[in-house]
C-alpha cells in the first residue's frame, strides 16, 4: 500500500514521540512473522513510541507498544506506519 500523506513510517518517529499505528504492511512479512508481530501487540490503533535506538547506527530500535517493549530491526519496523 502506498504511504498516504497522513501517515509515516514508525522509524521516522523521534525518540519519545507517541503515535497510533495506522497500518501494518503484512504482505511484506512472512505469515508467521506477521502473526507474531500481532501477538506482541502491534495492531492498528495501538499506541507506540520509540524508546531507544541501538548504538552503532541506530538499528535495531526498542519500541513500546501498549505495555510491552519490543526490539526489532528497522527493515521490519519500516512496514509499520503510524498516523501523523
Amino acid at each position: 500500500m502506498p504511504p498516504s500523506p497522513a501517515s509515516r513510517c514508525i522509524t521516522a518517529l523521534a525518540v519519545g514521540e507517541v503515535a497510533l499505528i495506522a497500518a501494518i504492511d503484512r504482505a511484506g512479512l512472512a505469515p508467521d512473522t506477521a502473526q507474531r508481530l500481532c501477538e506482541l501487540g502491534f495492531d492498528e490503533g495501538v499506541d507506540v513510541e520509540i524508546l531507544h535506538r541501538a548504538p552503532f547506527g541506530g538499528d535495531p530500535i526498542a519500541v513500546r507498544v501498549g505495555n510491552m517493549v519490543v526490539a526489532l530491526r528497522c527493515d521490519m519496523a519500516a512496514l509499520i506506519e503510524v498516523a501523523a
Binding site: 512473522t33 501477538e39 548504538p55 552503532f56
Partner: protein, 622 residues
C-alpha cells in the same frame, strides 16, 4: 464438601503454560521446590521440566513447565513443543488433564490474548495472575473477580517468588480436574487480531492504572540502552564477569587439583604398582581431573549467565550487540554465548538455547570453540615462554602482543567461519529479529540456585560419561603395549598412541610438526591443556604441568625450530581437541552429525593455519 471423594490413585498431568517472562518458571519452582526432574524432550534440545504437586484434596499431580510461548502458532522448536504437549501429540507424554495459564499482571492485555486462545481447547484451565506485587508497584490494580467473570475462568492472584497464592491455585486446580481424563483438544483456528482486540477490551474493563507503567525499567533502560553509556555498562558488566570467573575460580580449582593429587597419592600407597594403579591414577583421575578442574569456572559463568537472563539484562545486551552480530549473519542473542566461550565453550554452547532461530543457534554453537578458552592458556604460555623473546615492542611486551594476536586470530576465525557457515551448511533465512524486552527483576535466589543446579548436573551427567569413557580409551592407547625392559626411548613411543602418532607424522610433517608433537596430540584429545603434560610425557620428563614447565620450556627450545613453534601456536587457535565440547555439542544438537562436522572443520582450519604459518615463517627466514 459434598463432592465425591477424588480418585487418589490417578495422578493428573498439569502443565504450566504462558508467555515468556510471565514468571512461569518461578511459579514452577515455587510449586515443586527441589523435587523436579530436568531432561530433554526426545529428539529435540528443548528442556523438559517436571515435578510433583500435591493438591489440597490429596491428589498428586505431575506438573510440567512447558517452554514459554506467545501463542499456539510456534515460531521456534521450544514453542512447537509447548503446542504439541497441549494437544497431547508428544510420544511418551501423557495428555494433559489441566492447564495453568500464567499471565503477568503488569502486561495483562498481551498475556490475556493467549488465555483467550487456550480457552476454546476445552481443557480445565486456571489462570494464575502472577506478579501482582510488581503491578501494584507500577500503580496497576486489576479486579480479579471481574476478570474471572468476564473470561469465564477461575483466576488466582499469585506472587511466585514470595510463594503467595499457591494454596488458592491448588484449590482451583482440584476443583477443575475431574476423575476421568478430558478429551484431547482439537486445533482451534482463532483469529489473533480479533482475540487481541477482545483482550484489550477486557483488560481495559478490569484494570485501573495510576502511574507510569514500567517506570523503573524505563529508568534503568535510559542508562542501559544509552548509545554511549549502554555499551560502556555492558563492557563493565562483562569485565566484572570475567574477573570473577578467573579470580573466584582460582582457589576452588586449586582445591580440586590438590584433592585429585591427594587421592592419587593415597592410591599409589594402597595399591601395588601395576595396570590397575596406572588406570586409576593416570587414566581416570588424571583425565577426568583435567576436565573437572574447569568446573568452578563453568559454574561461576553459569551463575552470571542465569542472573543476566533472569534479570532481563540479557535481552538488552542482545539489543546493543545486534547490529555488530548482524554483519556476520547472526543476531544479538549470539553475543553472550560467544563471549562466555572465552572462558569455556561449554557454558557458551549451553547458553545458545536462548537463540530462537535454529540456524543461528547452530552457527553459534559451531563457532563457539574458536573463542580462545582458558584451557588454551597453558599451551600458549609454555610455547610463548619458550620461543618468543621477552623484549619490548614500543610500550608493549612482545610475548603479550603474540598472545593478543592469538586471541584476535580466534575472533577473526570465528567471524569468517560464521560468515562461511551461514552461506553453506546453515544457509537459509533466519526468522527476523523480534524480541520482547521484559521488565527488570532481581533474580530470585531459589530460581538462580535451581537453574545452576540443573545446568551443572546436565554438564556432569552428559559430558561426564563421554569424558570418562574417552579418557580411559586414551589412557589405554598411551599405555599399551608396554615398553620392553631394555627400551631406551620414552615409554609412550612404544604404545599404540605412539604408533598412531608416528603413523600420523607424514600427515603433520608438511605443517612443520615432528613426531613428538603428533604423538602428544593423541592423548591431548581429552582437553587442550593436556597437550602440555603430553609433551612432557613424550620428552620423558616427569611431573610437567602448567606450574612446573621450566624443564619442558628448555626441552622444547632445544627440540623445535621456531617455525614449528609458531605453527603449533596457530594450530591451537583452531584446535579441535576438547572432548567435553564435542560431547556437549552432541547433547545440544541431538545428533552426532554436528560434533563430527565441528571436529572436521576445526581440524581442517587448524591444519591450514599451522601450514600457512609454517611456510610463511620459513619464507621469512625465521
Amino acid at each position: 464438601m459434598n463432592a465425591p471423594a477424588p480418585n487418589l490413585a490417578r495422578s493428573p498431568v498439569v502443565a504450566l503454560v504462558g508467555n515468556p517472562n510471565a514468571g512461569k518458571t518461578s511459579l514452577f519452582n515455587a510449586l515443586t521446590g527441589s523435587r523436579q526432574k530436568v531432561g530433554n524432550y526426545p529428539g529435540v534440545t528443548v528442556e523438559r521440566k517436571a515435578g510433583r504437586l500435591a493438591l489440597p484434596d490429596g491428589r498428586l499431580c505431575d506438573l510440567i513447565d512447558l517452554p514459554g510461548t506467545y501463542s499456539l502458532n510456534p515460531r521456534s522448536p521450544d514453542e512447537a513443543v509447548s503446542r504439541d504437549a497441549i494437544f497431547g501429540r508428544i510420544a511418551g507424554e501423557r495428555p494433559l488433564d489441566a492447564i495453568v495459564a500464567v499471565i503477568d499482571a503488569t502486561n495483562l492485555r498481551n498475556h490475556l490474548r493467549f488465555v483467550l486462545e487456550l480457552k476454546p481447547l476445552g481443557l480445565p484451565l486456571v489462570v494464575a495472575l502472577n506478579m501482582v506485587d510488581l503491578a501494584a508497584r507500577d500503580g496497576i490494580r486489576i479486579d480479579a473477580a471481574r476478570l474471572s467473570a468476564l473470561i469465564g475462568l477461575p483466576v488466582v492472584e499469585t506472587v511466585a517468588v514470595r510463594k503467595r497464592g499457591l494454596d488458592a491455585l491448588g484449590g482451583a486446580l482440584a476443583a477443575g480436574i475431574g476423575d476421568a481424563p478430558p478429551p484431547l483438544p482439537v486445533a482451534a483456528t482463532g483469529d489473533v487480531k480479533a482475540l487481541q482486540k477482545q483482550a484489550r477490551q477486557i483488560s481495559a474493563a478490569v484494570e485501573t492504572s495510576t502511574g507510569a507503567a514500567r517506570r523503573w525499567s524505563q529508568r534503568i533502560d535510559r542508562v542501559a540502552l544509552h548509545p554511549v553509556a549502554g555499551p560502556l555498562l555492558l563492557a563493565a558488566i562483562l569485565f566484572f564477569m570475567f574477573q570473577a570467573v578467573f579470580s573466584w575460580a582460582e582457589a576452588p580449582m586449586g582445591w580440586i587439583e590438590a584433592g585429585i593429587a591427594a587421592v592419587q597419592a593415597r592410591l599409589a600407597l594402597a595399591l601395588p604398582a601395576g595396570v590397575l594403579l596406572s588406570l586409576l591414577n593416570d587414566g581416570v583421575l588424571a583425565g577426568v581431573g583435567a576436565v573437572v578442574v574447569f568446573l568452578p569456572q563453568i559454574l561461576i559463568l553459569f551463575a552470571f549467565i542465569i542472573a543476566l537472563e533472569q534479570s532481563g539484562y540479557m535481552t538488552r545486551a542482545a539489543f546493543l550487540m545486534d547490529r555488530l552480530m548482524a554483519r556476520v549473519g547472526l543476531n544479538g542473542r549470539a553475543f553472550i554465548p560467544l563471549l562466555s566461550s572465552f572462558a569455556c565453550a561449554i557454558p557458551g554452547i549451553m547458553a545458545t538455547r536462548t537463540i530462537d532461530s535454529p540456524r543461528d543457534r547452530l552457527t553459534t554453537i559451531l563457532i563457539a570453540p574458536l573463542m580462545t578458552c582458558s584451557a588454551r592458556l597453558p599451551v600458549y604460555a609454555v610455547v610463548i615462554g619458550a620461543f618468543i623473546p621477552a623484549r619490548a615492542v614500543g610500550p608493549f611486551g612482545l610475548q603479550g602482543l603474540v598472545l593478543f594476536v592469538l586471541y584476535l586470530a580466534g575472533i577473526l576465525g570465528a567471524l569468517v567461519a560464521a560468515f562461511a557457515l551461514r552461506r553453506t551448511v546453515t544457509r537459509g533465512s533466519a526468522p527476523p529479529f523480534l524480541m520482547e524486552m521484559p521488565k527488570y527483576q532481581w533474580p530470585a535466589p531459589r530460581d538462580l540456585a535451581l537453574g545452576l543446579y540443573g545446568r551443572a548436573t546436565a554438564f556432569l551427567a552428559r559430558a561426564g560419561t563421554i569424558i570418562l569413557a574417552s579418557t580411559i580409551v586414551l589412557w589405554g592407547l598411551a599405555s599399551w603395549p608396554q615398553p620392553p625392559a631394555d627400551g631406551e626411548r620414552p615409554p609412550i613411543e612404544y604404545s599404540l598412541a605412539g604408533k598412531i602418532g608416528a603413523g600420523l607424522e607424514p600427515i603433520f610433517a608438511p605443517i612443520g610438526f615432528n613426531k613428538e608433537i603428533a604423538i602428544a596430540l593423541v592423548p591431548g584429545m581429552a582437553a587442550r591443556e593436556v597437550a602440555v603434560s603430553a609433551l612432557g610425557t613424550v620428552y620423558a620428563l616427569n611431573g610437567v604441568d602448567e606450574d612446573h614447565a621450566d624443564g619442558l620450556i628448555a626441552q622444547l627450545r632445544a627440540a623445535w625450530p621456531l617455525p614449528t613453534a609458531l605453527a603449533f601456536l596457530a594450530w591451537f587457535v583452531f584446535a579441535p581437541q576438547c572432548i567435553s565440547t564435542l560431547a556437549i555439542t552432541r547433547r545440544e544438537t541431538a545428533s552426532w552429525r554436528w560434533p563430527i562436522f565441528m571436529f572436521t572443520y576445526l581440524f581442517a582450519a587448524a591444519y591450514v593455519a599451522a601450514g600457512v604459518t609454517h611456510r610463511l615463517a620459513l619464507a621469512a627466514g625465521l
